[in-house]
């Protein structure tokens, strides 16, 4: 809906410091996000469901985007969430954070803040103790801010 150009402007305004100036070597073809996903969660085919992911549809600034992610699980030693991974494929480097739980965690819920260099779909993967992998995704728009770059 919002034109990408708008967000590129936001990007250049941010470039003053945020670091999301793409390095020269990143100007080539987009890196294969699937490779990154496989190194994180292995070969299992991700299933839909079990994850709730709360993140604003539009971020006023890409430097800090608040989110809460939760994977449903009884969190007992025979059945718990091992990890939740967050990826922002259109960032200069796609990995955001990975969170690792134990049955002692009680629930697999985390709130944190991510950086988004531009408008994109944020990906979430949850790894269960039985090897199953769940996924969800959420588009986030990053807007031009301030009095103009």
């Amino acid at each position: 809906m919002i034109k990408r150009r708008a967000f590129m402007m936001g990007l250049s305004a941010m470039a003053a410091w945020t670091g999301y100036v793409r390095p020269a070597e990143a100007e080539g073809p987009p890196r294969d996000i699937q490779t990154v996903v496989k190194t994180l969660v292995g070969e299992a085919t991700p299933l839909e469901g079990r994850i709730s992911f709360d993140i604003p549809e539009i971020a006023e600034n890409g430097n800090t985007v608040p989110y809460t992610v939760r994977a449903e699980s009884p969190m007992i030693s025979s059945d718990y969430v091992k990890a939740i991974h967050l990826l922002a494929p259109a960032n200069p480097l796609p990995q955001v954070s990975s969170f690792f739980f134990t049955p002692q965690s009680g629930k697999a819920t985390v709130s944190s803040r991510m950086r988004l260099a531009q408008t994109q779909e944020v990906l979430v993967f949850a790894e269960m103790s039985d090897g199953a992998v769940y996924t969800t995704r959420r588009p986030v728009k990053v807007t031009v801010g301030g009095c103009g770059g």
């Binding site: 809906m1 708008a6 770059g149």
Partner: protein, 206 residues
């Protein structure tokens, strides 16, 4: 407060008859403001200090909180400062105009030495193309500007004049006098006129 407002209105009325009384309107005199301003920028050199000094028009606008009693005088004075391209062509390249409308670069103390031309930063205050949704609302929407006006010659000149010196059209307008103050060049103003008026411009596309 109420009392002060009444005083204000009364003085404005007198000022309409006799502009020389203008100095008495503010609670604080212009010399005090000037002195405070001069002391507040100890790092500024002579060039920069000259920016603090308002010309007659702007000083009057500040004085009357932008509701000037002598609007026709201001309009006439400001109109006299407008310069036109030698060949009379008022429309440039709308694509360059769009870039200027997006850019807020230039004249800030971090913009020296300059790395590119000044921007117009139109989107900070105006809606223009329908594609750009990150636009401000300090000024009116300019979406479809040329289409509504059917791109007549008189309207093109009016657009040029408003960008060059908004106060020639609207005395004490909040919009910068881009041409008169040397923020934008004649060529740049032509590009923005094209963005507003050209039938090919995305501003005028449905």
């Amino acid at each position: 407060m109420e009392k002060r407002r009444i005083t204000f209105v009364l003085l404005v009325c007198i000022a309409r008859v006799d502009p020389s009384c203008a100095q008495e309107i503010n609670d604080i005199d212009e010399a005090k403001i000037d002195a405070a301003m001069r002391a507040a920028f100890p790092k500024a050199n002579v060039d920069w200090l000259s920016r603090l000094k308002a010309d007659q028009t702007i000083a009057g606008c500040s004085q009357y909180k932008d509701t000037p009693p002598a609007a026709p005088t201001i309009a006439a004075r400001e109109r006299a400062s407008i310069r036109y391209p030698p060949d009379g062509e008022l429309m440039g390249d709308w694509k360059r105009g769009e870039q200027l409308a997006q850019s807020g670069y230039g004249l800030r103390f971090t913009d020296y030495p300059p790395t590119r031309g000044n921007g117009g930063n139109c989107y900070a205050c105006h809606q223009l193309t329908k594609e750009e949704l990150s636009y401000g609302t300090l000024g009116p929407s300019l979406a479809g500007y040329g289409k509504i006006r059917r791109s007549s010659e008189a309207d093109t000149k009016a657009a040029y004049d408003k960008i060059y010196n908004s106060q020639a059209t609207y005395p004490c307008s909040l919009m910068p006098r881009f041409g008169t103050n040397g923020v934008l060049t004649i060529e740049q103003i032509k590009d923005i006129v094209a963005l507003l008026m050209s039938p090919e411009s995305p501003v005028n596309r449905p």
